[in-house]
């Protein structure tokens, strides 16, 4: 009885500060404006709107593109950090976790510092060839780079855990049998790490779908769902519209995570549940 009382503070807090507000959010998204009766009209309006459909498509596009890039880049990184005996191993691991502590807006600003109108790269081009080149910070390319930046530490953290559990013999045996280094990565390590890759992809996708700061700093026309939620609330004050968009975003994220969970279950027969929350999903 005494022990059960330990759960009282957290249950009280999460009921008041999370569950009740979420229920009110859901209710708001289902309420008819004047009469107060229940309606799916706000959702229908979201689906009918070309702008929202485009934002949804953009969210899916940038989330999958940045996740794919992050997986390709970070897979050999995780192998190196866990397997190498280099003196600098720890320092490299620390360097790779730094983006984890940065809010999305700061990451967006980093992209501006390099690829904004007066960014480093366009400045260097100006010096060399007399005109500014590659000032793509405020386009899809700039946002993609920002998303990749906050996904690197998350993907590396998830993959490192699985690499450290892998036997060194797997690499040694395949090398002895004559596999080339690239074959070791693609034919030996990739299949062995597939569950971790899927798990890392889940973390990465969920982070990308919810990302607001980076998009708010960089977007000039490439609209993603979190931006539409923000502007429907702060600019046009339509809480019921913002609420239905939020619910749609949460459902979309959950559906993709569940889908990947299914894939992961099939990848590992005994089916260890997919831990989607590893590494944190905020940026």
């Amino acid at each position: 009885m005494l022990i059960a009382s330990l759960a009282v503070p957290v249950l009280t807090l999460f009921t008041l500060a999370l569950l009740i507000p979420l229920i009110i959010l859901l209710r708001q998204s289902l309420l008819e404006g004047s009469s107060g009766s229940l309606t799916l009209e706000h959702y229908a309006a979201v689906i009918r709107s070309l702008a929202y459909r485009r934002a949804l498509l953009n969210s899916v596009l940038i989330a999958f593109a940045s996740t794919l890039l992050a997986l390709i880049l970070c897979f050999p990184v995780a192998v190196y950090i866990e397997r190498s005996r280099s003196r600098y191993r720890n320092a490299l691991a620390v360097a790779l976790t730094i983006p984890l502590s940065l809010p999305g807006i700061v990451i967006g600003f980093f992209v501006i510092l390099f690829f904004g109108l007066t960014g480093l790269v366009p400045q260097v081009f100006l010096l060399l060839i007399g005109e500014r080149q590659l000032s793509f910070a405020y386009t899809f390319g700039g946002m993609l780079l920002g998303y990749l930046y906050f996904q690197i530490p998350r993907v590396v953290l998830v993959l490192r855990g699985s690499v450290s559990a892998l036997s060194q013999d797997v690499i040694d045996v395949s090398r002895t049998l004559g596999a080339t280094p690239w074959q070791v990565y693609l034919d030996v390590l990739l299949p062995a790490l597939m569950p971790a890759m899927i798990s890392a992809a889940s973390v990465s996708l969920a982070t990308a779908f919810g990302a607001f700061g980076t998009a708010a700093t960089l977007s000039r026309g490439f609209r993603v769902l979190p931006l539409e939620i923000a502007s429907s609330f702060t600019e046009s004050f339509q809480p019921e519209r913002a609420a239905s968009l939020s619910i749609a975003l949460a459902l979309l994220t959950t559906a993709i995570l569940l889908g990947l969970g299914q894939v992961a279950e099939r990848a590992v027969r005994p089916g260890r549940a997919l831990d989607t929350s590893k590494g944190g999903t905020r940026a």
């Binding site: 022990i3 190196y80 190498s84 360097a95 790779l96 060194q168 939020s246 949460a250």
Partner: protein
């Protein structure tokens, strides 16, 4: 025999090293550039154009000082509540099997699956009158950081060696308070420290929830950073960002030192 492939000359490791260097350069390169821009008199004209200056840093610090102190106070309050609520919760999850345990774990991790702006929006819609007091800002950050604290503390509390030592202390006649103070807390010291630094860092850098819940009197440093990005000149924005990083980057390094990849994986 098995070790000879692990050296730097092993081509498998060389590929890994190449990718790692690219990733590390991407992660770190913005930091020196930030300092250069923050100390350049007129950045749009080039590297240290118009000379090196500390004016932007001074001006930036004056501009963000009140928001920095507000963010520090807020982080302190978030820490206190997280600890008071999270420590018993982590202990419960680590030490006890009970009906609804899985449901409790799912509930605590729920904020990780829901976009921050949705949490903020839900809080505003539920308690519109509490917004002005800054209470919603505090609640939003607590809900958002608590999963990380619990996820860092629970594994440390679940170590079999620690449970054994507590049992020994008990048979030797130590009271519950004595066991907590002399056995449990020292054993989870580094996890506890890492969890506290993690919550501090997350709170200092939180933007998605804070952007919707702030008021003119309760404005956090990241919210002020964002308005600098939108309205201020690039040198001042860089200077303010550099000041902000002084608070979060050392903390991030400390977390990695304390527990590496095991920390904060909620």
């Amino acid at each position: 025999m098995t070790h000879q492939h692990r050296g730097a000359t092993d081509p498998v490791m060389s590929i890994g090293q190449g990718f790692t260097l690219v990733a590390v350069v991407v992660c770190l390169a913005p930091l020196p550039l930030l300092l250069v821009v923050a100390t350049t008199a007129n950045w749009p004209l080039g590297f240290w154009a118009g000379g090196v200056t500390l004016d932007w840093l001074r001006q930036g610090w004056e501009a963000v000082q009140p928001y920095t102190f507000f963010s520090l106070r807020l982080a302190g309050m978030v820490l206190a509540i997280d600890l008071a609520v999270g420590l018993p919760t982590a202990w419960l999850i680590a030490r006890h099997e009970f009906t609804g345990r899985q449901a409790l774990v799912t509930l605590i991790n729920l904020p990780l699956a829901i976009p921050g702006i949705a949490i903020a929006l839900a809080l505003i819609l539920a308690y519109p009158l509490a917004r002005a007091s800054g209470l919603l800002l505090l609640l939003g950050q607590v809900v958002y950081t608590l999963p990380f604290l619990v996820a860092t503390l629970a594994p440390a509390l679940a170590q079999p060696a620690l449970i054994e030592r507590e049992a020994v202390a008990r048979t030797l006649g130590a009271s519950a308070i004595q066991r907590l103070w002399h056995v449990t807390l020292p054993a989870i010291r580094s996890a506890l420290l890492a969890a506290l630094i993690l919550v501090f860092t997350l709170s200092m850098g939180e933007f998605n929830v804070s952007f919707f819940l702030f008021t003119p009197l309760n404005k956090t440093l990241p919210v002020e950073l964002y308005s600098a990005y939108i309205t201020n000149r690039v040198e001042v924005a860089a200077a303010i960002t550099a000041i902000f990083l002084l608070f979060v980057v050392p903390a991030a390094i400390a977390i990695e030192r304390l527990g590496g990849s095991k920390i904060g994986q909620a």
